[in-house]
Amino acid sequence: MQASAPGIVQGGRAIGLETVGFSKQFGALRALDDVTLKVEPGSFHALLGENGAGKSTLVKCIMGFYRADSGDLLLDGREEKIRNPREARALGLGMVYQHFTLAPALTGAENLVISRADAPAIIDWAKETKRLDAFLDRMPFRAPLHVPVSQLSAGEKQKLEILKLLYLDQRFLILDEPTSVLTPQEADEILSLLRGMTDRGEITILMITHKFREVTAFADSLTVLRRGARVGGGKVGEITTEAMARMMIGDTPIRERAARQPTPPRAPLLELAAVYAVGPEGKNVLDGVDLKVRGGEIVGLAGVSGNGQSQLVEAMSGQIAIDDGCVLIRNQRFEPTREAFHRLKIFGLPEEPLKNAAAARMSVAENMAFRNFERPPNASLGWWLRPSAIRARARDLIGRYHVKTQSPDAPIGDLSGGNVQRAILARELSSDVDVLIVANPCFGLDFASVAEIRAQIMDQRNRGAAVLLISEDLDEILELSDQVAVMSEGRVVYVAPIAQTDRATIGMHMAGHD
């Protein structure tokens, strides 16, 4: 059976959705507590809440990924039972998850075609390619369809995820932090397109986000969750961002922005000298990177994602080999060994910390001990581990860094996205730091955590650490940096003190213009 040409979304077909009294228990934790959410057909609804508030859990229950313990779901006023994502899809509900769900080894075209419920048994690629091209022609943004998804940048993957839902003709779109991997320009472009589609009544959107700017610019109504319960909501124009913030965190005080203290000029602690690395495609992913970071200074490295930033972090942490050039710490050649990290007090937070800096199935306490499990008091004689000490230290860090977890023994993979980030930061910032390398440290964090973590980074700088801050968020770079550098196509193309540069100049270098 052929579906009516996919992607032709006709007006007035948007779906309205309502959850009535949704509750969900994970062990001792009440992740959802009697949540009622109403999304009008054709609206752009924002779902807000601090990290671990239960936003992802709520939408996963709607999609049938989890089963809510109690509660009813109404679609266009009719009660529906959704037992699995396939049933949700059949009802026109589609979701972009917080992590990507495209199969990395398949091409974009293969991913799209196979995701169709009526994918033909034998695929006529000539015909399908023509149909896909026709579909893309109607879409205001595109993504490469004929290379394996693993070779796409994060932004391209995100676009492809959204294109997939539209291709499947889904009319209720749930987006879980869709813009965290996009540049602000890309985010605006995609969201305004989606807003256009809701205005025409073609689709309804429920978007989880931490960015107030996106809420005020694109959403027309919102709901706020706190600790699994609905604490407020309404029309966007009628609620100030301060009110939203208060609903999200209650009376918890927000940490003040840490002041930048004047630091005396110091010698470079971290130095990259003509670092080259060859990627799997035989191209130089790092093409002669030169960079100096002094003690007591934050160097903010800006750049569009996919220009070698993640490889730079991987090269410094020893995850990929440096083919030429070297990393110097205190003027000595640095080899990334565990011993050297400890002796030179180098710490860091890579991007996607759950993948790059944690073992998902090990407990929070064990993950927090990765840096020092073999040293006293965590171990005697260098090999006899003392779990009680490890757990006690973890409990202390969990308290100090406000990590929301059921216990130190819960697997770190069960934590919400933002809390994984905090757990790893707690591990990396809790001892004496000389060199700190952080990549997108505030990715997917709620505003209170953002303030907290930026203050921590500034503290380390004030104490004399050399901080390399790699970020795709220009506001973060402008707020924290002493020096701004821009990375483009595997090279550092621009360096300037913060006082002598501005957003436009940085943006131009990011785009590859000199």
């Binding site: 994502p85 998850y97 990395p104 398949l106 994918a119 048994a121 693993s150 799997p280």
Partner: protein, 306 residues
Amino acid sequence: MSEGLVQTVLIALLGGALRVSTPFMFVALGECLTEKSGRVNLGLEGTLVLGAMTAYAISFHSGSPWLGVLAAGCAGAALGAIHGFVCKLPRVNDIAFGIAMMLLGTGLAFFFGKAYIQPSAPRLDAISLGGWSSDPRIASALQVHPLLLVGILVALAMWWAFANTRWGLLVRMSGDSAQSARAMGVSVDLVRFLATAAGGFLAGIGGAFLSLYYPGSWNQGLSSGQGLMAVALVIFARWNPLRCVAAALLFGATGAIGPALQSVGITQGYYFFNAAPYILTLVIMIGSAGSQKAGRDVPGELSITK
């Protein structure tokens, strides 16, 4: 004179490749299909032996060797189905269970096969592709068994299906990212179950070739680890069915080095040359372990790489 010798050896290698490679090919294709779906089935050695025994027994009783081939495939599919079913239970490791299945398969074959060591069953006939040559050596080397051609056709079909059919894409997707497949509502367990059963079917046919054509009898020492080496071969072939065929032919040819040299009177190092396929396996494993390309082609869900 020495040129004639070289020729003899080369022709013998070709003949060996065509004759010995078929079981490698079938097991490798079966393993390739299973691994593409995200599971490793190390039990295919047992499947091969059970297939050999079943084929021989059915051929003996029915008088039809092709019926034996079919029965061998079904026996293999049954073993594969057990593996596919048990491995979807929580916390079952497919590699460990595969080893158990290997022992089960050989054990069953030895148990039921006792009665068939003596009697002689009808064999499969080869097709002669060497009729054009007046050289009797070539004519005998080009005695090709239909199953070899079937294997090549299966490989072509798999290669095409992985790119052009819904089932092919579903298998690749399940092997690449179970999470993506589940998010789409695909039952990853079902896909893997079917892929493992189909892989077992192919491996069983490989066994039928052993007992019904070459060496062409049933005994307990029939397989010399072909089923296990085929797993290495799949890695070498980087999960591409066509490269599996090429790799199987290469393995067949190396296996023929010893006999080929012996046929021209070089008997020194006979045992060493007989070990050539095993040495090749080692060299290949070491060589491909660090290769970046292999790293890219490996299905993301395989438990050996996770």
